[in-house]
Structure formats: C-alpha cells, structure tokens
Symmetry: C2
C-alpha cells in the first residue's frame, strides 16, 4: 500500500471511530447501571443466604470493546464448582428473578440452563448463572467459559479496544458479523482474538485477502489437539483458554469467503461504506415484476406460520428444509438456480418463507426412464415386463444398450410436486409441525402478496 | 421349452419357409441368367485377349442362401494376383462395360476400386473385378475375400441353407439385418456363420437370449489374434478365412441388444410377425400434432439438401452431425431426450433430416455462471473484475465458497442457437458443404411440412 492509501485508511478509521466509540457520558451511564445491577445481585444473594457466590460483568461491556449505541450487559452469577446443577438452576433463577423485579420487562430463557433476560433503562441485560470452574477445559456448562474469555481478552487487549470496534463494525457492515445459526459469521470474541493475534484492524484486513480455507490461528506453540482431526472448518482459531475448542466453528465457508472478498474490496478502494453500507432498497411490486420479467426464470416460495421458537432453533430447520426441498425439486428434474430462507421477526403471526428460483417450473408430460442393459437378463426382463405394456407408457426402446421408456411424468409443475410431496421432505421438528398445519405456495407474480419489508430487502439480493 | 412350443416353432419355421424359399422356377430363372452372364463375361475376356482370368458367381445366390424375391447377383472377375492394380481397374471395367451393354441400365460405382452395377430382367447385378490371392489373409483389396467366404460357406453349409434363410428373415423382420453403415446390423455372411456355428435357426435364438457384449465365436481353437486386444466390439465372430478379421465388426451395441431382445420376445411368444412385421403406419398431420401435444416436449428438425453420395458415405456423416449437434444443445443447457437421422432415398432433390426431442426449446434470459473459489486469489480477482461490473450482469454473489454471477443467456431458444452455431459443429465433409448451402429449422407443428412417407414412418418410432 502506498503512503497516501495508508493515510486514507487512517482517516477512515478515525472517522468510523468517531461514530462507533462510546462517549464519556455513554460509558458513565453504562458503569452506573452495571454497578447498580451488581449491587442488586449481591443483595439478592445475601437474601437467599447462599455463600461462596460471586458476581461479574462479562462480555464486550466489561472488555471495553462495545460499540456506541449497543446496550448489552452480561452479568454472570458464579456458583462454586461443586454446586449441584439443579441447585444452581433453582438458586440462580431465584436470584435473577429478585433483580428483575424492577425491570421494565423480563423473561426466563433456556439455553443449556435457564437464565433471565431483562430490559432496564435502554439496556438489554442477561443475568446468567454459571459454575466457577478452575480451568476452561473442565467446564460443566458452556457459559462457564465466558469468564475465562473475559480474563484472556482483558489481559491481552492492551490498548487495542478501538481496533476491535473497527473490525466488528466492518464485519457488521459487510454482513459477516454474528455467530448465531442464522448468520454463521464471526463472533465478538473471535474479532477480539483476531485483533490480539494480528495487532490491528488493518493487519487483519491485510492478512484476510490471502486467507484460504483450513487457516489455523493459535496463541501458543502446542501441537493441534486431536479433536481437530478430520474437521473441515474453513477457519480454525484455537481458544487460548481451551485447546479443544475452535472459536470460529460457527463460521461458514460463505461467510469466510465474504469476509475475504470484503477485505480485498476494501483495500482496493478504502471507504466508510464498508462500515456503514447504504440501506437496501425495499422492492415495490412493480420492481419485482420487472425483475421477474427480465430474468425469465420461475420463482416459487413456500410460506407458512413461523414456529414460536428463537432464531437459533428456527434457522437451522429452515436451512435444512431449503436443502431438502431443493433436492426434491432436482430429483423431479426441476433445476434450482438459487434459494434462500427467511423468518419474520417481530410480527404477530409471523411467517417463515423458503424461496427457490427455477430454470422452469414446468416440465413436459413425458419423462425418459432409463432401465438396465439388455444383457443383464433378469433385471432387463423384469423392467420390460413392468413397463413395455403399461397403458400409459409412450415408447419403449433400446438406447446405448439399455432399455429406455418414455413414461408419463408424475409432476409437470413444481407447485403440484410441492403440494403433494413437501410432507416427505426432511423438515425439522418445529417446521414440520408448522407446515403440517398448512402452507401456501406462491409462484412468480403471486409473490408480490408478501409485503414484509425485511423479506423484500432480502429478496432484493436474490433477484 | 415345452414340446408344444417346439412344435409351434417348427410350424412357424415351415410357414415362413414356404414364403421365403425360392421356388423351382425362381431358381431356374436365376440359374439361366447367371449362366448367360458368366458366358458373356467369358466372351468379353476373350475379346480383350487377356489370359489367366476366371469368372465366379459369389454371394447368397451361389451359396443357395438367398431369399425368394431378392434378385441380387454378384459376379466376380478374378485377375491373377500379380496383376497391377491399374491394369485390373482398366481391364476389369472394360470387360464389365462390354457385358453391361445389354443391360436395361448400368452405372459405374466406386468402392476400393471401380465396379459396375447393372439391371437385367429384374436382377440387380454387380460385376466386380478382384485379385485371385492364394490366402484370404493376404488380400490386396477387400473384395478379394469374397471368394474365400464363398468357399467356406459352401463347404460347411451342408443342408442348413434354409436355416440361414430363416435367420436372415428374422433379422430383417426385427430390423437388425444389414451391415451397411446406416443400419450397423448383421451381414449375410455373418448369419451364415452363425448358422454353421450353432447348427440351426432355433439354436442361434436359444443362444442369443443370453448373449452379453464381448461374446466371441470362433471356428478353430487357435488363440485370439493380437489385433483384437483392446477392441470393444459387442460381438466378435472370427472370420474362418482370416483370423485378424471380425465378421461382426459392423454390429453396433444397439443392434446387438435389439437382436437379443427380439430372440427373447420370440421365444416367449413365437409368431410369424417377427419375420413379417406389420407395416409401420404413416402418421398424418393430425396424428403428429396429437402426439406432440400429449408428450409436451419440443421437437426440432434440421432439414437440408441430401448430398449426392451413397448411404455408406452419408449416414456416418449424419450420425456424426446428430452427436455433434446434441452436444452443442446440451452445452447450451437444452436437454436432448432423443434424436435420429434420416436421408431421403429416391426423390430428386432429396432431403436429409436430423431430429431432436428436447425437454424444452426455451430457456430463461439468465444463466448461472460459476466462477473460481474466492480463495484462489488470482483467478478469483480476474473473474470478479470481468463480471462484477459488467453492464448486463444480473447479480454477483458467493455460493459454496465460489464467485457466481447470473449473466444474460446468449441463446434463449434452441432455434436461435442452431441458426447461429450449427456451422461450428463438427460435420462431415459432404454434409458440411450441403449445410453451408442452406438449411431449415422446423419446430413442433412446423415439422408437419415434411411429407415424405419414409420419414414419417421412422418418425413414428420416435414420437
């Protein structure tokens, strides 16, 4: 990079930081609410009369790597390692409920064990009970790792917090941030480790342009744990607090490549737009119809009630359905060009949608059915007996030494195929239940009946 | 087979023979014309003043394996082995022309060397000069083999002539008779050898039901000649007069399988219809349109002037064109279900036609173009540079770790593809010349414009 480009990069970093770095008053407010909550938790512990517990703020708020405008607090209630799981769940919830009493709203959520999510003064707070184990490799519950991550980052981040913020914002802007199962991208902890490893935002970017799947990043010189043998993760970042864990396990090959691609684009023409992309246009009905006409393909969506579950439950099932329905379509010779899945977020009676673009949603009445070679007598005679004189067989002949017949195609339209056979697809438990209650198939212009903004924005990327 | 079936088989054989075995007067007529022609040839030889020549009737007429109603005579003018080729051609033609003077019509034809074909009293006569070599393995011209075939068959046919007639007629009736390049089936000599080897018509049929490609039939116990190493002929019948030659070399895998299939069908339900099939119906325009509608596929024919060459020249070129155009269509994503080639026979200004049945002759405007994996930086960047900002690219995205773009499809109809790119197909010399003079593309109902009976009969087997 020439000096002028480097200077431009510095200008962009400063400009971006001025927008994403929390102000003094924002920090003060966060500190005040954190102190208040921790003191409330301690009081609740006291009230319960349990000894040996401690309270800790973890996550980006505690590591000072949070981005202005985000108000997420993770407060961990740490129980002695020897506590029975059932006692941790009971006492942990009891303490958290006591604290949540003053919240504007709260709800109990369930991951590996229950915790409470609450809102207070614009803050989104998780109150999470965990076991205070002595080493991250002997955790009893996956949240037990977090205090170790906290400790490692705080120890090594040494003045690089802003670099983490820049990388997070860049990943957000380019759509690769977030390790939830919907996104399959980069987690906050992963961005922190990348900054600690490479030393700065631009060093991560400089490196990423040449990344190849199978890249391994480690914080010590120990050999790779056996648990990584045969694994195909595109990116392996060994957790410095647990050598058996890949911090980047969630990163899909596409998000990995999208980051590499974004890094290259950014270096070619550095710009703030990678951090703050323009909002995607919501397509109007006319836009949609114009685009359909100009592509000439056939579009099909399956639309059904979104199961009442969190995204981490719904999206893997949606992706599974997308794959399974694609396979069904291809099996019946409808060629799929592209597909995506979407679930509504906040609406009452929200919908889930799986979308397919097909070369054509219609096929001719006949289908070529290729049988065994004529010289495999047993097979050949069985095939011939079955098909040759079937009423609705169009023709029976020999081609390349094999019996072949033209038989009626069972499904000449993708819609009729889906209506009849969607229930044979491998669908996840919740989606299956929802689809069984009913689903709609919309084709081409009918898709304009779907008005959700979010859906149309996503659709915009596919049409 | 149960006795009653065997009896039925014998009845059928007798019934068929009564129709195909030449009558006494037919035989007498053939003998009379043969004697007459041989004496004319001898006189012509005398007139030319050349010594050491002999004349011989060869082929099925001389072996008594000909079928009633066929009137083909092959008369060979045998020159001494040491004759110069140029002298054989000159003198041979000169003798033949002298004989042909009294013919109703005659023409000079060219195989490896020139010969004369003539018509006289309903007989189709070939007058062929050849070299009288001492052994079939040291022939100077491929026709030199025929006298050896003649000798072998006459020596071994011992009362099996009728069996040969039956097998020939069965092969005719089931469409596998004829070793010309159009048919790629069984030659007359091959049927004679099969009868000599297996002993009877029914023994060939009993055997054929279990034939597998790679079958070898030999008339001695010598090991197979090295010249057969690595060859993939479905049927190998070693010429008893030349161990390096496969008499069945012309038999295609499909004709081989069709014979096996016909043998099995015949044994399941013996009937004269295998020897004398019903004439194929000529489809009317209405039949054609009905069948097109019920199949729902798209039909395309390419129609052009038939080159003025013999079928053995035209058909290999037609088949080559059929394959080459199929590949072109598939390359541009038009899926070919079936195809065939046809050339008119006797018409003035005869046409040649190549036919394709497609899943669809239309494709959408866009085409998915898959590029290199993102991590192959050089390739990936070149691909992106070329496509990302191209004016008419619809979308550019990452899928399965690769760059992909939706680009405009160059040919959205099979007809436009063929009009533009037919000249890039690998066509034979004569067909290429003819196509360059002009061709027509007809689609679906337009094909009804082709009225030739022969074409429509063939078409009937494909629609």
């Amino acid at each position: 990079m020439q000096k002028s480009s480097l200077e431009r990069l510095q200008d962009i970093k400063e400009e971006v930081l001025s927008k994403i770095k929390p102000t003094g008053s924002e920090k003060a407010k966060l500190k005040k609410i954190t102190d208040h909550l921790i003191s409330k938790v301690n009081k609740a512990i006291e009230k319960q009369g349990i000894s040996g517990l401690s309270v800790q703020l973890v996550g980006s708020a505690s590591r000072n790597t949070w981005i202005s405008g985000t108000h997420d607090l993770d407060i961990f209630i740490i129980f002695p390692e020897e506590t029975e799981r059932i006692e941790l769940e009971r006492a942990g919830l009891s303490i958290a409920r006591e604290v949540a009493k003053e919240a504007e709203r709260f709800e109990e959520r369930y991951a590996e064990h229950p915790y409470i999510n609450m809102n207070i003064e614009e803050f989104d707070v998780d109150l999470v009970p965990c076991f205070g184990v002595t080493d991250a490799s002997c955790i009893k519950s996956s949240v037990d790792r977090t205090p170790f991550h906290n400790e490692f980052v705080k120890k090594h981040i040494n003045g690089l917090a802003d670099e983490v913020r820049l990388l997070k914002q860049f990943m957000r802007g380019t759509g690769v941030y977030g390790s939830e199962l919907k996104t399959q991208g980069f987690s906050g902890y992963l961005t922190e480790l990348l900054i600690i490893h490479f030393g700065s935002f631009e060093n991560v970017i400089f490196s990423a342009v040449d990344w190849k799947p199978g890249l391994k990043i480690k914080f010590d010189s120990d050999p790779l744990s056996d648990s990584f043998k045969g694994r195909k993760d595109p990116l392996i970042v060994i957790d410095p607090t647990d050598p058996d864990r890949n911090v980047a396990a969630a990163v899909s090959i596409n998000k990995f490549c999208e980051f590499v691609d974004a890094a290259r684009e950014f270096l070619t023409d550095p710009s703030e737009r990678y951090f703050f992309p323009e909002d995607i246009v919501t397509l109007t009905d006319k836009d949609l119809k114009d685009r359909m006409r100009s592509r000439g393909t056939d579009l099909i969506v399956i639309c059904f009630k979104k199961p009442d579950e969190v995204e981490d439950v719904i999206y893997p099932q949606l992706y599974k359905m997308e794959k399974s329905v694609s396979d069904l379509l291809e099996q019946y010779q409808f060629r799929v060009m592209r597909s995506f899945s979407w679930a509504g977020e906040n609406e009452k009676e929200a919908k889930a949608i799986v979308y397919f673009e097909l070369i054509s949603s219609r096929l001719p009445q006949i289908k070529k059915h290729i049988g065994p070679p004529v010289w495999l007598r047993d097979h050949a005679e069985k095939f011939k007996l079955k098909y040759k004189h079937m009423d609705d067989v169009f023709s029976f002949y020999i081609e390349d030494g094999k019996y072949v017949c033209d038989i009626p195609r069972k499904y000449t339209s993708a819609t009729s195929l889906l209506k009849s056979r969607l229930n044979t697809c491998s669908l996840g438990k919740h989606i299956s239940a929802s689809v069984n209650e009913g689903f709609q198939i919309l084709e081409n212009k009918e898709i304009c009946a779907i008005k959700y903004c979010d859906f149309r924005k996503l659709f915009n990327r596919y049409i």
